[in-house]
C-alpha cells in the first residue's frame, strides 16, 4: 500500500523534491477518501480534484476503485490546464494503467515497466509542457 508503482518527472534535476511532494500528498488523498464515507464509495467520483496548492505547483489526485492512486504535479503557472484537462489526463492514465494490469506477465504491486505506459506518460508530459 502506497508504494510507488511508477514515478516520472519531466525536469529530472529536481526529482527528489517531487518525490517528497507526491509522497506527502498521499496523506491528503487518504483524508479525502475517508471523508467520502462508506455509502458513497460505490458511486464516488474517482477524480479527487486539487489536493493542495503550493507556491509553484498544483497537486491533483485520482483514486481508482481498487485504491490505486494517481498523483499529478503541474506547474501552477500553466493556465492551460483546467480541471477538465486534468480529469481527462487522469482518465487516460487510468486506461493505460488498466492495460498494464491486463498484462498476464505483470505482477500486481511490481513497478510498472511497461513501455506502452511509459510512452503514454511521455506523450502526456510533452503535450503539457
Amino acid at each position: 500500500m502506497n508504494y510507488p508503482l511508477y514515478i516520472r518527472s519531466a525536469p529530472t534535476e529536481n526529482e527528489l523534491k517531487f518525490h517528497y511532494m507526491v509522497h506527502t500528498s498521499l496523506d491528503v488523498v487518504d483524508e479525502k477518501i475517508s471523508a467520502m464515507g462508506k455509502a458513497l464509495v460505490d458511486q464516488r467520483e474517482l477524480y479527487l480534484g486539487l489536493l493542495y496548492p503550493t507556491e509553484d505547483y498544483k497537486v491533483y489526485g485520482y483514486v481508482t476503485n481498487s485504491k490505486v492512486k494517481f498523483v499529478m504535479v503541474v506547474d501552477s503557472s500553466n493556465t492551460a490546464l483546467r480541471d477538465n484537462e486534468i480529469r481527462s489526463m487522469f482518465r487516460k492514465l487510468h486506461n493505460s494503467y488498466t492495460d498494464v494490469m491486463c498484462n498476464p506477465f505483470y505482477n500486481p504491486g511490481d513497478r510498472i515497466q511497461s513501455r506502452a505506459f511509459d510512452s503514454m506518460v511521455t506523450s502526456m508530459m510533452i503535450q503539457v509542457c
Binding site: 502506497n2 510507488p4 526529482e15 527528489l16 518525490h19 509522497h23 506527502t24 500528498s25 496523506d27 513497478r111
Partner: protein, 1435 residues
C-alpha cells in the same frame, strides 16, 4: 505539537508574571555570592507562592490568585542583545536532548508503526527561555518592572545610608533619560527595602536595630530583614541539603556566567557592564539597531557551504561543543547555597510571601484602582466623543481609513502617559494577577482604540493578549478568538516586521489550539512562521508542526515525515546536529522500505553525514551502507558521490581503531552460492602434438548429465578395484565444488596442490569499483604429520605463508553493473583443516574515470595503474547456505538447511598426481578406422603411483593392446608410416583358403565377469615413480556411427602408500572425435544345401557379405580396398571364399557395392572340446598380398570389444516360472538350432588424398551373425522413432502367454535336402513308368531328439496344383515316422514315379517335426527346401 509537561493553563500565567527588579549593594552581593548565587538567583526557587492570595478588584470584588509566581531579576541596564539571545536559545536547545532511555510511544497509522517520542523537552525549554528573554517593549507592559527590591547588608558600615543611596540609584535608572532600557511599569515604582543579615558572621543585635530603624523610616510594609547564611561554607559537605537551584540555573549557564563576571560591578558602574557585555559576546554593534531579524550567522552555526561540502568540519564543532560541556561541568561542580540551612530556605520563602502579600499585591491593587479611575473619567469623555463623531461620519468609514493608511502605521508611538496606554497598562496588570475577565475587556477596548488610530503594533499586542485572556477566562464564556491571533501574527510579521513578537504569538496560539485539538490549524500556524531568517526557530516550529500532523485524529503520517525532514534540514543549518539527526531518523521510519528510493537515499545520506559529524561512525557507516546496497536508482554521478563519502567515512572509522577487526564491506555484492572451489593445478595448455587431458577446470560449466556420467565411471572402476563391490564409504571424487555438487562432506585437498576459489562479484552501482590487494581470508588448524591430533589446536589466520600461501590479486576492476568472477588461490603447505572465511580487499573507486555514464572510462585507464582516489581495507565473508533439507518430516515442515562445506577443505598428505598427454590424437576419423596414437603418463608429484586404470563408457573406441601385443615401436616418431596392424606377407597363390589362428578373449581383457569398460593401463612396472613418464601406444577405432562423439576417459590411480582419507585419485579426459561414413557391411548366413563335406558333418554355411562404400566426401577418400575378411567364432570358421571375383583386391569406389561369398564350416569337434570355451578361432581370407593377423592386437582387441558391447545387450532372461521350465527349455532348444555364432571382421584400406598427399587409412568393420537367414549389419541400423503411443492408464493384462517359438524358428528344426540326378533319361516307349530313386536327407539341427513325420501325399489344396499337367507320384510308403537324435542325419530312400517327360518339382514331401520328449507339440511343417527340379527326358 508534542505533549508538554505544562498545560496551557499553567504555561501562559507562568510566562507572564509580575517582574520585580533587585538592586543590591556590594556587601549584600558578597553575602549571596558565598552561596555562589546572586540575590535574584537566591530567590528564584522560592518565587512561586504556595498559598492562594486574595485581592480586591476595582469593583471591590474579591479575586483569588492561585499559584502566583513572581520574577525577581537583577537590574540590567542594557536590553538583551539579539545575538546573545540567539546564542542562549541555541545552547538551550542543544543542551536538551532526548533522554537515552526514553520510552518512545508507538503510533500505528495505517500500516505504519512509528516510534515517536511524545515529548520534546528541547522545544519546551526553548519556549521558556524565549519567553523569559523577551525584551521589554513600549507597546506592552507585561514584563516591565513593577517593583524594586533594594538590598543592603547588615554588615555594612552605614546600612541606612546605603539604602538611600540605592534608592537614589534606582530613581536615577528609572527617570534619567540615559537609561532607556529597564522599563518600569509606572513612574512611582514600589521600593522594598531588604536587609540581608549573615547569621554566621554578623551581629544579630545590630541587624535587629537597623531593621527597627528601617521600619520606622519605610514602614513595616516596606522593609524586611532576611537572615541567611546560617552556617559557614567550610563545613558544607557534611550534611546533604537539597539544592533547589540546580534545575533553574543549569540551563541558563551562559547567562549565569555572564552575570557572575559582571556581578560586582552592577551597582557601581553600569557603564562597565556595557563594554563587558560587548566584549563577551563578541558581536558587533549593528545589533543595536533594534532589528532582531538580521541574517547574521550564529557563532555556533556552521557555514552552509562548509556543511554541504565533502570535508566535514566536525572537529571544529566538537571543540565548541566540548567547551560548552566543560563550562557546564564547572557549573554543576559548584554547590549552590552551601551556606544555607533548611531554615534559611524557609526564611527566603517567608520573605517572598511577605513581599508579595504586603508589598507587591497592595501596590498592584492600588495601581489598578488608580488606572481604573483614570479610565472611567476618560471613558465617559471618549465614549461620547467617539459616538458623536460616529454619528457625524456614519457610513464614511472608508475615506477615514484611507486617510489613516497614510500614517506611518508601525512608527506610531504614543507618549507614555497616553490614555490608550493606560488601558493597556491596566489590562496587563489584571492579566498579571490572573484577573482575566477584566483583562479581556480592557484589552478589547484598547484594541479598538489602537485600531482606530491605526497603531498596528499596539493593536497587535492588544489583540494577542485579548485572545489569550479570552481563552484563559474561567468558565470560558466566549470561544477562543483565533482570528485575533491570526491578525496579530500577520500584523507583527508583515507590518511591524517583528518576528520575535510574531513568534511569541504563534507559540501561544499553537499551544492553545493544541489544547483544543485543533491540530491542523496549529500546524498551519507553525508552518506559516517558518522563514529564512532563523533556522533554529523554523526547525523547532516545523518539528512541532510535524507532531501536530501525527497527533491528528487520523494521523497524517507522510506529512509528519515530510515536515520532520524539513525540520531536520533546518536543524542541521542551525548547527543542531543531534536534533537534525533525530529528525531524519524519525522520518526514516515512514520512508523506509516503501519504495521511495530517492527519498530514502536522501535521508540515509543525510543521516550518514550527520552521524559522521557527531562522531557516531557506526551509524554513519550503516546509513551509507544502506544507500549503496539497495538497488539504487540514483544517477551515476550521485552514486559516485555516495561511494566516495562512504569510503571517506569508512576510512575514518578504520583509522580510529586500526587494530580492530576489519570492517565488513557492503560492496561489491558476492553471490555466495555461486562460489566454486577447485582443487588442483590449472590445466596446461596444449603443447604442439602433445595434448593434455582435459580433466576438470573452472572454465567448464556444470553439466549434471556429464557429472553423473563421471560419477558412474568412477563407481565402476572403484567397484572393479574392490572386487565388484562399491565400498559403502565411497564418495565420488570432486575436484570442482559448486552449488550443484554434494557439499555435505568436508572436501579433501592435497598438500602442495593449489586450491582455487572462484568468487562471483557483482557491482550494483553505476560507477566502476576497483578492488586492490584482493585475497582470501582463511583460518587454519595445522595437524601433526604423525596424524595425532594436537593437544592444543593452534588456529592460524591469514598471513602465515609458511602454512598456507595466499595469492593476492593486486587489481581487480569491476565495471558498472557488471558481474565478474575472481579466482583466488591458496597453496597449502601443511596438513590440517582449512577454513576459507571470506575475501579481504581494498575497496576504492577510480579517479579520473568518473565520467557521467560510468562506462565510458578511458580505455587506457584499464591497462595502466588505476590512480586510486581513496580506498578502505575491509572484508566480506563467504557464507554459503547449504541445500534445504527435505528428508524427515521435521525437515519438511520446518525450513532447515544442510551444511555446505565447500570452503572447509581438509588438507591431507601427499598423493601422487598424474598428468596424461595424448600424442597424435586425431580429431577426425572414418567410421571403423583404426589409428594409432600414443599416451604419455607423467607422475608430477613426489610420491609414486600405481594401479593405473582407465574407464570409459566406450571401451570399443580404444585399446592399449592385449596381453599378446607384440612390441610395437614405443616412440611415436618411429611408427609414422607404419601400419597399425600386425601383418605377415603371404604368398598370393594361396589366397582362396583361409589361414587359421586362434586366440582367447581372456588375453584381451574380455573375460567372464570382468567389466569391459575398466581397462588396466599396462604400465611397464605397474608403478610410476615420481617424475617418471611413460609413453604407451594406443589404438583408436572410429565409432561406427557418423557424427561427433564425446568420449570420456577416466583415469584411476592410487598411491603406493595406503592413505586413509584419499584412496585413489582420478583424472578425467574428454576426447572429441568426429567420424565420417566409410563402409557399410551387411552379411547373411544361410545353410548350404550341398552334401556334407568330407568330414561327414552337417552344417555347412554360406556367408554372403555385402560391402558398400557409403563415404560421401568427394574430395577425401578415393576408394576403399577390402584387404581381408576374417571370421571369428567359437564353433565356426571360414573355409574359403566361394565366388572369386575377377578383381582380386576388391576395390570399392564411391557408392559402389561389392558382394562376397564365403563358405563356413564347423570347427572340428575335438578342437572345440580341447579349447576353452572362450577360445575363438580366427580364419583370415586375404584379398591382398599380406595377411593381417586378426587374432593379434589391435584387430582382435577391437573385435572383442565390439563383441562385448554386443554381449551387453540384454539377452532373454530365463524366466522364473518353474512350471513352464520345460517348455522354455524346449523353446530354447528350438531357438538354438537356428542360431549361429559367427563373427566377421572386414578389414579395409582407404586411399585418401589430403593436401595432395596420398594417405592410406586402415580400418575394420565387424558383423556379428547370430541367426541363420537374418541379415546383420556392421553398424546399428537406425531405428524408426517409435510412434507416439497413447499413454495407457489401465494396467496391461499379464501377457505372459506361453512362450512360443515362432513358426520360422520351428521350421528350422530339421534341415532337408533331396538328392537326385538332375536329369533323368528314360525310354518311355519301352516302359511307361519311370522310377527315379531320390534320397531325402533329414538332418536334425537341434541338440535334442526330434520326432519327424514325412508325408509324401500330394497336397491338393491349391486348385492350381491340380492343373499341373505333369504330376508325379511317390511310390511306396507315403508316411514315415522317424526319430532323429541330436545332430543326426538320416537318409530316406524314396522313389518317384513319372509318366511323362518334363520338368518336375520334387520338393513336395512335407516334413513335420516336434521335439520328441515334449508333451505339447509344436508340430510344424518344416521349411520347404528350394524347388528341386528334375528333368525327365525321353530317350
Amino acid at each position: 505539537m508534542a505533549q508538554c509537561v505544562q498545560s496551557v493553563q499553567e504555561l501562559i500565567p507562568d510566562s507572564f508574571v509580575p517582574c520585580v527588579a533587585a538592586l543590591c549593594s556590594d556587601e549584600a552581593e558578597r553575602l549571596t555570592r558565598l552561596n555562589h548565587l546572586s540575590f535574584a538567583e537566591l530567590l528564584k526557587p522560592f518565587s512561586r507562592l504556595t498559598s492562594e492570595v486574595h485581592m480586591r478588584d476595582p469593583n471591590n470584588q474579591l479575586h483569588i490568585i492561585k499559584n502566583l509566581k513572581i520574577a525577581v531579576s537583577n537590574i540590567i541596564t542594557q536590553p538583551p542583545q539579539p545575538g546573545a539571545i540567539r546564542k542562549l536559545l541555541n545552547d538551550v536547545v542543544s543542551g536538551s536532548q532526548p533522554a537515552e532511555g526514553l520510552v518512545a510511544n508507538v503510533i500505528t497509522a495505517g500500516d505504519y508503526d512509528l516510534n515517536i517520542s511524545a515529548t520534546t523537552p528541547w522545544f519546551e525549554s526553548y519556549r521558556e527561555t524565549f519567553l523569559q528573554s523577551m525584551p521589554a517593549s513600549d507597546h506592552e507592559f507585561l514584563n516591565h518592572y513593577l517593583a524594586c527590591m533594594l538590598v543592603a547588608s547588615s554588615s555594612e558600615a552605614e546600612p541606612v545610608e546605603q539604602f538611600s543611596k540605592l534608592s537614589q540609584e534606582q530613581h536615577r535608572i528609572q527617570h534619567n533619560s540615559d537609561y532607556s532600557y529597564p522599563k518600569w511599569f509606572i513612574p512611582n515604582t514600589l521600593k522594598y527595602y531588604v536587609l540581608l543579615h549573615d547569621v554566621s558572621a554578623g551581629d544579630e543585635q545590630r541587624a535587629e536595630s537597623i531593621y527597627e530603624e528601617m521600619k520606622q523610616k519605610y514602614g513595616t510594609q516596606g522593609c524586611y530583614l532576611l537572615k541567611i547564611n546560617s552556617r559557614t561554607s567550610n563545613r558544607a559537605s557534611d550534611e546533604q541539603i537539597p539544592d533547589p537551584w540546580s534545575q533553574y540555573l543549569q540551563k541558563n549557564s551562559i547567562q549565569n556566567q555572564e552575570s557572575y563576571e559582571d556581578g560586582p560591578c552592577t551597582i557601581t558602574s553600569n557603564k562597565n557592564s556595557d563594554s563587558n557585555l560587548l566584549s563577551l559576546d563578541g558581536l558587533d554593534n549593528e545589533v543595536k539597531d533594534g532589528l532582531p531579524n538580521n541574517f547574521r550567522a550564529h557563532p555556533l552555526q556552521l557555514d552552509s557551504s562548509s556543511d554541504a561540502s565533502n570535508s566535514i568540519d566536525g572537529p571544529d564543532h566538537v571543540k565548541s561543543a566540548s567547551s560548552l560541556h566543560e563550562t557546564k561541568k564547572a557549573n554543576t561542580g559548584i554547590i549552590h547555597g552551601a551556606c544555607l540551612t533548611l531554615t534559611d530556605h524557609d526564611r527566603i520563602r517567608q520573605f517572598i510571601q511577605e513581599f508579595t502579600f504586603r508589598g507587591l499585591l497592595p501596590h498592584i491593587e492600588k495601581t489598578i484602582r488608580q488606572l481604573n479611575d483614570q479610565l472611567i473619567s476618560r471613558k465617559g469623555l471618549s465614549r461620547s466623543l467617539f459616538s458623536a463623531t460616529k454619528k457625524w461620519f456614519s457610513g464614511s468609514k472608508v475615506p477615514e481609513k484611507s486617510i489613516n493608511e497614510l500614517k506611518n502605521t508601525s512608527g506610531l508611538l504614543y507618549p507614555p502617559e497616553a490614555p490608550e496606554l493606560q488601558i493597556r497598562k491596566m489590562a496587563d496588570l489584571c492579566f498579571l494577577v490572573q484577573h482575566y475577565d477584566l483583562a479581556y475587556s480592557c484589552y478589547h477596548t484598547a484594541k479598538k482604540d489602537f485600531l482606530n488610530d491605526q497603531a498596528m503594533l499596539y493593536a497587535a499586542g492588544a489583540l494577542e493578549m485579548a485572545a489569550v485572556s479570552a481563552f484563559l477566562q474561567p468558565g470560558a464564556p466566549r470561544p477562543y478568538p483565533a482570528h485575533y491571533m491570526d491578525t496579530a501574527i500577520q500584523t507583527y510579521r508583515d507590518i511591524c516586521k517583528n518576528m520575535v513578537l510574531a513568534e511569541r504569538c504563534v507559540l501561544l496560539s499553537a499551544e492553545i489550539l493544541k489544547s483544543q485539538s485543533k491540530y491542523s490549524e496549529a500546524a498551519a500556524l507553525l508552518i506559516r512562521l517558518t522563514s529564512e531568517d532563523s533556522d533554529l526557530r523554523s526547525a523547532l516550529l516545523l518539528e512541532q508542526a510535524a507532531h501536530c500532523f501525527i497527533n491528528m485524529k487520523s494521523p497524517m503520517v507522510r506529512k509528519y515525515a515530510f515536515h520532520m525532514i524539513l525540520a531536520g534540514h533546518r536543524f542541521s543549518k542551525a548547527g543542531q546536529k543531534k536534533h537534525a539527526l533525530r529528525c531524519y531518523c524519525q522520518a526514516m521510519q515512514v520512508y523506509k522500505g516503501k519504495g521511495w528510493s530517492l527519498a530514502e537515499d536522501h535521508i540515509n545520506f543525510t543521516i550518514g553525514r550527520q552521524s559522521y559529524t557527531l562522531r557516531q561512525l557506526d551509524n554513519a557507516v550503516s546509513a551509507f551502507r544502506h544507500i549503496l546496497i539497495n538497488e539504487s536508482k540514483q544517477s551515476a554521478a550521485q552514486q559516485g558521490a555516495f561511494l566516495r563519502e562512504y569510503l571517506y567515512v569508512y576510512k575514518n572509522v578504520s583509522q580510529l581503531s586500526p587494530d580492530g577487526p576489519l570492517p565488513q564491506l557492503p560492496l561489491p555484492y558476492i553471490n555466495s552460492s555461486a562460489t566454486r572451489v577447485f582443487f588442483g593445478h590449472d590445466r596446461r595448455p596444449a603443447d604442439g602434438e602433445k595434448q593434455a587431458a582435459t580433466h576438470v577446470s573452472l572454465d567448464q560449466e556444470y553439466d549434471s548429465e556429464s557429472s553423473q556420467q563421471w560419477r558412474e565411471l568412477e563407481e565402476q572402476v572403484v567397484a572393479v578395484v574392490n572386487r565388484g563391490v562399491v565400498p559403502s564409504n565411497f564418495y565420488p571424487t570432486q575436484y570442482c565444488l559448486n552449488s550443484y555438487s554434494d557439499n555435505s562432506r568436508f572436501p579433501l585437498a592435497v598438500v602442495e596442490e593449489p586450491i582455487t576459489v572462484e568468487v562471483a562479484f557483482r557491482n550494483p552501482l553505476k560507477v566502476p569499483l576497483l578492488l586492490t590487494d584482493l585475497s582470501l581470508l582463511w583460518k587454519f588448524q595445522p595437524k601433526d604429520i604423525s596424524g595425532k591430533d594436537n593437544e592444543e589446536v593452534k588456529e592460524l589466520v591469514s598471513g602465515e605463508p609458511k602454512m598456507i600461501g595466499t595469492e593476492v590479486i593486486s587489481e581487480f576492476l569491476i565495471n558498472s553493473e557488471e558481474s565478474k568472477v575472481a579466482r583466488l588461490k591458496l597453496f597449502p603447505h601443511h596438513i590440517g583443516e582449512l577454513h576459507i572465511l571470506g575475501v579481504v580487499y581494498n575497496l576504492g573507486t577510480i579517479q579520473g574515470c568518473m565520467t557521467v555514464d560510468g562506462i565510458g572510462s578511458l580505455p587506457g585507464c584499464h591497462t595502466g595503474k588505476h590512480s586510486l582516489s581513496m580506498s578502505v581495507r575491509g572484508r566480506q565473508d563467504l557464507e554459503i547456505q547449504g541445500p534445504r533439507l527435505n528428508n524427515t518430516k521435521e525437515e519438511k515442515t520446518s525450513i532447515k538447511y544442510g551444511p555446505d562445506r565447500r570452503l572447509d577443505p581438509i588438507i591431507t598428505e601427499e598423493m601422487p598426481l598424474l598428468e596424461v598427454f595424448f600424442i597424435h590424437f586425431p580429431t577426425g576419423l572414418l567410421c571403423g578406422e583404426i589409428r594409432k596414437a600414443y599416451v604419455e603418463f607423467v607422475n608430477v608429484s613426489k610420491s609414486p603411483l600405481t594401479g593405473l586404470k582407465v574407464v570409459s563408457k566406450r571401451p570399443e573406441f580404444f585399446t592399449f593392446g592385449g596381453n599378446t601385443a607384440v612390441l610395437t615401436p614405443l616412440s611415436p616418431s618411429a611408427s609414422e608410416n607404419c601400419s597399425a596392424y600386425k601383418t605377415v606377407a603371404t604368398d598370393s597363390t594361396a589366397v582362396c583358403t583361409a589361414l587359421i589362428s586362434s586366440a582367447s578373449s581372456v588375453d584381451f581383457g574380455i573375460g567372464i565377469g570382468s567389466q569391459p569398460e575398466v581397462i588396466p593401463v599396462p604400465l611397464p612396472d605397474t608403478v610410476l615413480l615420481p617424475g617418471a613418464s611413460v609413453q604407451l601406444p594406443m589404438w583408436l577405432r572410429g565409432p561406427d556411427e557418423e557424427g561427433v562423439h564425446e568420449i570420456n576417459f577416466l583415469f584411476y590411480y592410487e598411491s603406493v602408500k595406503k592413505q586413509p582419507k584419499i584412496r585413489h585419485r582420478i583424472l578425467r579426459h574428454t576426447a572429441v572425435i568426429c567420424t565420417s561414413r566409410s563402409l557399410n557391411v551387411r552379411a547373411t548366413v544361410c545353410r548350404s544345401n550341398s552334401l556334407e563335406d568330407e568330414e561327414g558333418r552337417g552344417g555347412n554355411m554360406l556367408v554372403f557379405v555385402d560391402v558398400e562404400n557409403t563415404n560421401t566426401s568427394e574430395a577425401g577418400v578415393k576408394e576403399f580396398h577390402i584387404v581381408q575378411v576374417s571370421s571369428s567364432s567359437k564353433h565356426w570358421k571360414f573355409q574359403k571364399s566361394v565366388n572369386l571375383s575377377e578383381n582380386k583386391d576388391a576395390k570399392l569406389a564411391s557408392r559402389e557395392k561389392g558382394k562376397f561369398c564365403f563358405k563356413a564350416i564347423r570347427c572340428k569337434e575335438k578342437e572345440v572340446a580341447t579349447q576353452s570355451s572362450e577360445k575363438y578361432t580366427f580364419a583370415d581370407i586375404i584379398f591382398g598380398n599380406e595377411q593381417i593377423i586378426s587374432s593379434a592386437s589391435p584387430c582382435a582387441d577391437f573385435f572383442y570389444r565390439s563383441l562385448s558391447s554386443e554381449l551387453k545387450k540384454p539377452q532373454a532372461q530365463p524366466s522364473v516360472h518353474t512350471e513352464k521350465q520345460s517348455l522354455e527349455d524346449a523353446v530354447r532348444l528350438i531357438q538354438k538350432c537356428s542360431e549361429v555364432d559367427l563373427n566377421i571382421v572386414v578389414l579395409w584400406k582407404a586411399y585418401v588424398v589430403e593436401d595432395s598427399k596420398q594417405l592410406i587409412l586402415e580400418g575394420q568393420h565387424h558383423v556379428i551373425l547370430r541367426t541363420i537367414g537374418k541379415e546383420a549389419f556392421s553398424c546399428p541400423q537406425k531405428q524408426e522413432p517409435p510412434e507416439m503411443e497413447l499413454l495407457k492408464f489401465f494396467r496391461p493384462e499379464n501377457t505372459t502367454v506361453p512362450l512360443r517359438p515362432s513358426v520360422e524358428q520351428l521350421s528350422n528344426l530339421i534341415k532337408t535336402s533331396l538328392h537326385y540326378p538332375e536329369s533323368f533319361n528314360h525310354p518311355f516307349h519301352q516302359k511307361s513308368l519311370c522310377l527315379v530313386p531320390v534320397t531325402l536327407l533329414l538332418s536334425n539341427c537341434s541338440k535334442a531328439d526330434v520326432d519327424v513325420i514325412v508325408d509324401l501325399r500330394h497336397k491338393t489344396t491349391s486348385p492350381e496344383a491340380l492343373e499341373i499337367h505333369g504330376s508325379f507320384t511317390w511310390l511306396g510308403q507315403t508316411q514315415y515316422k522317424l526319430q532323429l537324435k541330436s545332430q543326426e542325419i538320416h537318409s530316406l530312400q524314396l522313389k518317384a514315379c513319372f509318366v511323362h517327360t518334363g520338368v518336375y518339382n520334387l520338393g513336395t514331401p512335407r516334413v513335420f517335426a516336434k521335439l520328441s520328449d515334449q508333451v505339447t507339440v509344436f508340430e510344424t511343417s518344416q521349411q520347404n527346401s528350394m524347388p528341386a527340379l528334375i528333368i525327365i527326358n525321353n530317350v
